[in-house]
Amino acid sequence: MAEYVLETRKLSKEFKGFSAVKDLNLQVERGHIHALIGPNGAGKTTVFNLLTKFLTPTTGTILFKGIDVTREKPADIALRGVIRSFQISAVFPNLTPLENVRLALQRATGTSYHFWRSDRCLDKLAGRAMELLDSVGLAEFSGEITGELAYGRKRALEIATTLALEPELMLLDEPTQGMGAEDVYKITTLVKQASVNRSILMIEHNLKVVATLADRITVLQRGAILAEGPYAEVSQDPRVLEAYMGVHP
């Protein structure tokens, strides 16, 4: 067993000559909550898109549990147990929260290509779906139209949907972005709960959240690693203070 659940080696991505990610060597330890931070435009979302195959790397390799997955397709990576969320909330807006979660649960039933069966055969997933909704505090909203839910609830639903697939590695892109203090606290608790028995790589701007959750932090700047280590160490690094937090020591 590889010690790292996820590893990149010299991972680079160029957009028409502009290097969004440069020679990135990232290592995520199994069981860790690993935070990826950095100023806007540092290339964090691009790293996620590379890891989940929504973008093809220009050069470099990606290893998941020691297996080279650089050339795989997005759905393949998901089937291996790497499930991502998106910076802009990714829900199915015209479905109910229950149906959102059920769509994730459905994958494991192996009936997803069965066009000749009634979807009533999915009713048996409702119990588990409700459990998941309940775990993120959405049980009472299970039958509403998802698109009409408050923003914080959509993000919570996204986490419930992701957890429905029991991913080995969860990638969260700014899960608390644009939230009030109360929602931030809720999501922080959720992520902490979700981290049991799995690894999480999260992009996060809120340093309080990072301080609370992260076992390890990677600071990205202009596509390259600026600093890396536990929060206590990284937060004292003068380069980080200057580049990221705008503090001049």
């Binding site: 989940t52 929504f54 397709k73 997005p74 759905a75 998901a78 089937l79 499930i83 991502r84 998106f86 990714a90 829900v91 199915f92 807006p93 015209n94 479905l95 149906e99 059920r102 769509l103 994730a104 459905q106 994958r107 039933t109 009936t111 997803s112 290509y113 069965h114 066009f115 000749w116 069966r117 009634s118 979807d119 055969c121 999915l122 949907t161 697939l165």
Partner: protein
């Protein structure tokens, strides 16, 4: 939808030939099925095909050929036409699905033009004349589809009508089942948020392709049935005109609604027969109506009604 509505519609369909001109009803049913098949793709998968006449028309030719030249019974002819359309759907779909949005539509249009060209030039399609005098034959070798019954003084081709109605119900049921299946749930997810569906581990291209094949086959079923009704397979069936018509019907009635394509097909087919005397102006008139409807009822007739009633129709 309400079970009573279904029963009412079936009874309506069964009684229709006694009230309405049966040929009109049969044409309506064929085009309604065609629009339903198209709606499976546009309304429930989010794929806009500009070349659906290729499936409608090629099935019409294949069925015509099978019953006229090979002497097959009508149900086998229809089956052959439907399967061929499904196969063609697989080929067209495989090529088109790699493209997104308008490029997808362009690829379907381009491939449909190739099919049109083949229909125009190939020796077995009759070129400009099409396949004429397609015999309706005996269903299962037993039931004469040409048989006419005289009901209160009117001659009615009831055997043919009920055959067409049965084909329509079969197609409707298959499409309805597909929409409300585990597969249909994934399609909904893809339409709502494709990247999210991918990131949940669904290979969306396979789902789209399968939806495309089912839609093409059902469009084929409609075209195959049509060739028996009119005893004719012609270039019109495969032309871009017909591809456009089905888009129009679906948008008029309401994309992504169950009843929308029925209402849209009814509107267009009725207008066409009522206005047939005005000649080529008909295209302009239908176009005008379409523009007005798109501006006033953006969701189509049924779509707007559903919104007023706050329920899906």
């Amino acid at each position: 939808m309400n079970r009573l509505v279904w029963i009412a519609l079936i009874i309506l369909g069964l009684l229709a030939p006694y009230v309405v001109y049966p040929v009109f009803m049969m044409k309506l049913l064929c085009f309604a099925l065609f629009a339903l098949a198209f709606n499976l793709l546009l309304g429930y998968t989010g794929l806009l095909s500009f070349g659906h006449a290729a499936f409608f028309g090629s099935a019409s030719y294949i069925t015509g050929h099978l019953v006229r030249n090979s002497g097959l019974t009508p149900e086998l002819g229809v089956l052959g036409g439907t399967l061929f359309a499904g196969l063609l759907g697989y080929v067209v779909g495989s090529l088109a699905i790699r493209r997104q949005g308008i490029y997808f539509a362009m690829v379907t249009l381009a491939l449909a033009q190739i099919v049109y060209f083949i229909a125009l030039k190939a020796p077995f399609t009759g070129g400009e004349d099409g396949l004429q005098g397609i015999p309706r034959g005996f269903l299962f070798g037993l039931i004469d589809l040409n048989r006419v019954y005289v009901v209160s003084g009117r001659p009615l081709g009831l055997n043919l009508y009920y055959f067409v109605f049965a084909m329509f119900c079969l197609g409707f049921w298959i499409i309805h089942r597909t929409i409300h299946s585990p597969f249909g749930q994934v399609l909904k997810g893809i339409r709502e948020n494709e990247p999210r569906a991918i990131s949940l581990g669904y290979r969306v291209d396979r789902f789209k392709l399968m939806a495309f094949v089912i839609s093409a086959a059902m469009a084929g079923l409609a075209g195959a049935t049509k060739s028996l009704v009119f005893q004719l397979s012609s270039l019109t069936d495969v032309s871009w005109h017909t591809s456009g018509e089905v888009v129009l019907m679906t948008l008029l009635g309401g994309v992504g609604t169950v009843l929308g394509p029925l209402v849209g097909a009814f509107t267009v087919v009725t207008l066409q027969s009522k206005l047939s005397s005005v000649g080529s102006w008909i295209t302009v008139i239908i176009g005008g109506i379409f523009v007005v409807c798109v501006l006033v009822f953006r969701r189509g007739f049924v779509g707007e009604l559903a919104r007023l009633l706050k329920r899906s129709l």
